[in-house]
């Protein structure tokens, strides 16, 4: 029987051993108890968590930590500069303008998971906005919205097919799209530079409608918390039944508690203003659905697999071309949905919609939130965290009357660079710690 002195033995000893066997073993192997390291962490109580946290930081598994610190720093700095940054008004404004780019950033997360990039997402958003705008003037609103979104899906499929089937680097395909679709957008708009949102259009409601009833925000908060708690509890129970390491009830309660503070404070803030914004509800819905797809379905697993090793994915029978094409379709679709939010926020379709720094905002949001540029690592929630950071900066600068693009561009650029540096350094650290 071979012994591995260094490896922790988590598997139960397969056969009864004689005393000779045990004596023959190295002392190190015998000394390590047969439990999963994660269980060990929990058994040590609070100290175990601190040790685990330190170990993760040292080995470069920082996850969302930089962005959480970033959000706190932004809050403190702007609060100090303006005196009234942390207000329910700003919460409302940030959320309102975060939804569009945030939804586009969710699509970017999918593409980044493959280790690719979609530079066309801003132009796709702009084109989808103008397709909707032009069609909405002489077509039922819902049909125009559907066609606008489908135009994004179609453009995404085009990017994906050229990339996956012909083998043109995604960076080049989408760069061509970035220019081409912006041109097409201007062409679709024709003589008009703007088309105002028709009265009664759902697109107008996207950023204007609020669930004004106080119960809406609190109700949603309680619903989210209950779902979160029950899902964790159920998972823990199932793991316990299967005799696998599971979260103790105390940890689930702690997690739910932390989430509860955040969610309830946000709900209170929204209720101080106009209520629960529809844009937030849709954004959260998209996040929940995409998170489910990525983490709990075969398709999501395949996306991660293609991002982690194409050869391995192919040998496992995964249709790599389809995964690539479909991911770009998702990116295009979410880009188009984001475009409708942009149109809603600016009051209608516009020639310059989706232009400017929109594209960089989306990519930056995904990366700042903690999705790796190198593929295979990330969560859709990074889109939410990242866009909150960026939109908070924009809001803070607006409040300081620094609305000019100059400062905003420089700061956004710097934040993006810092995020990529953190990503690269953490990857290097992970490599040297044997975790990448």
């Amino acid at each position: 029987m071979s012994t591995t002195p260094k490896a922790t033995d988590e598997a139960p000893v397969p056969e009864p051993r004689t005393s000779e066997d045990v004596a023959a073993e190295t002392p190190a192997a015998a000394a390590i108890p047969a439990v999963d390291p994660r269980l060990l962490v929990r058994e040590q109580g609070f100290k175990g968590y601190v040790d685990e946290f330190k170990r993760k930081i040292r080995s470069g598994e920082i996850g969302s930590l930089p962005v959480v610190i970033g959000l706190i720093v932004i809050g403190v700095v702007f609060q100090a500069l303006t005196g009234n940054f942390i207000t329910s008004y700003n919460l409302d404004q940030i959320t309102l303008y975060a939804a569009g780019p945030g939804i586009m950033a969710v699509g970017i997360v999918f593409v980044l998971l493959l280790g690719e990039i979609d530079l066309a997402v801003g132009s796709v958003a702009g084109l989808a906005g103008s397709v909707w705008g032009v069609l909405a003037t002489d077509m039922p609103d819902s049909l125009a919205i559907l066609l606008g979104i489908l135009s994004g899906t179609l453009l995404g499929a085009f990017h994906g097919l050229v990339f996956a089937k012909i083998g043109v680097p995604a960076f080049v395909v989408t760069l061509a799209g970035f220019l081409g679709w912006a041109g097409l957008q201007t062409w679709v708009m024709g003589e008009r530079s703007t088309i105002p949102t028709p009265i009664g259009s759902f697109v107008g409601d996207l950023t204007k409608y609020y669930f004004a009833d106080v119960a809406a925000a609190y109700g949603l908060a309680v619903l989210v918390l209950a779902a979160f708690y029950l899902a964790q509890l159920r998972d823990s129970r199932r793991r316990k039944a299967a005799e696998l390491p599971h979260r103790p009830h105390s940890e689930i309660l702690l997690r739910t508690g932390v989430l509860a503070v955040l969610v309830l404070v946000a709900a209170y803030g929204f209720n101080q203003e106009k209520g629960l914004p529809l844009s937030l509800v849709i954004f959260l819905l998209i996040l929940l659905v995409t998170d489910f797809v990525l983490r709990r379905t075969t398709y999501g697993r395949q996306v991660f697999a293609v991002g982690g090793g194409i050869e391995a994915a192919r040998r496992a029978g995964i249709n790599v071309a389809w995964i690539r094409t479909s991911v770009f379709m998702i990116s295009g679709t979410l880009g188009a949905v984001g475009g409708l939010f942009l149109a809603s926020a600016t009051g209608g379709a516009d020639r310059s919609l989706g232009g400017g720094n929109q594209l960089m905002m989306c990519i930056a949001a995904a990366v700042i939130g903690g999705t790796s540029l190198f593929g295979g690592r990330g969560k859709v929630w990074s889109a939410l965290l990242g866009i909150l950071v960026l939109q908070s900066i924009v809001q803070g600068l607006n409040q300081l009357n620094l609305e000019s693009n100059a400062i905003q561009y420089m700061i956004t650029g710097a934040v993006l660079l810092i995020a990529v540096i953190i990503d690269s350094v953490s990857r290097k650290t992970q490599k040297s710690a044997g975790r990448a």
Binding site: P37, G309, A312, R315, R435
Partner: protein, 259 residues
């Protein structure tokens, strides 16, 4: 050992363009037998293995599975029969954890949703029956050592309950201790009644675990030896072609008797 081989190749021919890679190769693998496939570079080992794995369909010859002739023209055909291949480049997804890698391409599902609990449980059972020790089945494969990655790759091949496992140079990149772990694993596969085809350049490994050595030379069989009664030198001679005449064979025999 059963009389009917699980897998038998008879008179396999394979040509790539003008190059005749395999000419009339025979090979038999029984249940619970480790067959080492050895030969110099370019002898056709990899091609032979790829014909079994369905990567390269054969031009001529018969492949028999449990006595019945079968056709293997795609990798899926081979997998469906019960052949699992572990290639030299392990092809694991570094970012996915051990469980995800083991079940990649055949995830267990419950109502259309990934059943992580069932997969983790089966992964643990599988690893423990093979006495594979890994710190945690939930760490990314990137965090494992070369030997651990190799045993994960082999374990991955076993998820589909194969009857024949093909290992392509499993110890080539490993250190002494890790090599021992992989060889232990090969022995456990044999104990479980699997047929193993082991490609190796390392004679020590071959002598250590194989029951039979099949030598290929320039695309032809150059002898099949029972390991127990064959010397290191005889195998080397068959690989390099030094046994091509009766004289050397006789010399080798008399030298052995003299010792």
């Amino acid at each position: 050992m059963s009389q009917t081989p699980v897998l038998a190749l008879r008179g396999i021919f394979k040509r790539f363009g003008a190059v005749q890679v395999l000419s009339g190769v025979d090979l038999e693998v029984h249940a619970g037998e480790v067959v080492a496939l050895v030969g110099d570079n370019g002898a056709g080992k990899s091609t032979l293995v790829k014909t079994i794995a369905g990567v390269h369909p054969i031009d001529e010859g018969v492949i028999e599975w449990e006595g019945r002739p079968v056709e293997i023209s795609r990798p899926q055909d081979s997998q469906n029969l019960g052949v699992a291949t572990v290639y030299q480049d392990l092809a694991l997804c570094d970012n996915l954890d051990v469980v995800a890698n083991l079940f990649l391409g055949r995830e267990l599902k419950k109502g259309g949703v990934l059943d992580e609990v069932a997969m983790e449980k089966r992964a643990k059972d599988l690893l423990s029956t093979l006495s594979i020790r890994i710190p945690s089945v939930r760490i990314p494969v990137a965090a494992l050592s070369g030997g651990q990655r190799q045993v994960v790759a082999i374990a991955r091949a076993l998820v589909g309950d194969p009857k024949i496992v093909i290992l392509d140079e499993p110890t080539a990149a490993l250190g002494v201790e890790q090599t021992a772990q992989v060889l232990d694993l090969v022995e456990r596969l044999r104990e479980q009644g699997l047929g193993v085809i082991l490609i190796s350049h390392n004679m020590a490994d071959v002598k250590a675990v194989a029951d039979t050595v099949a030598v290929l030379r320039l695309g032809r069989n150059n002898g099949t030896f029972p390991v127990a009664t064959t010397t290191h030198e005889e195998i080397i001679a068959a690989i390099t072609g030094a046994t091509d005449n009766a004289v050397t064979r006789r010399q080798a025999r008399t030298a052995e008797v003299a010792q």
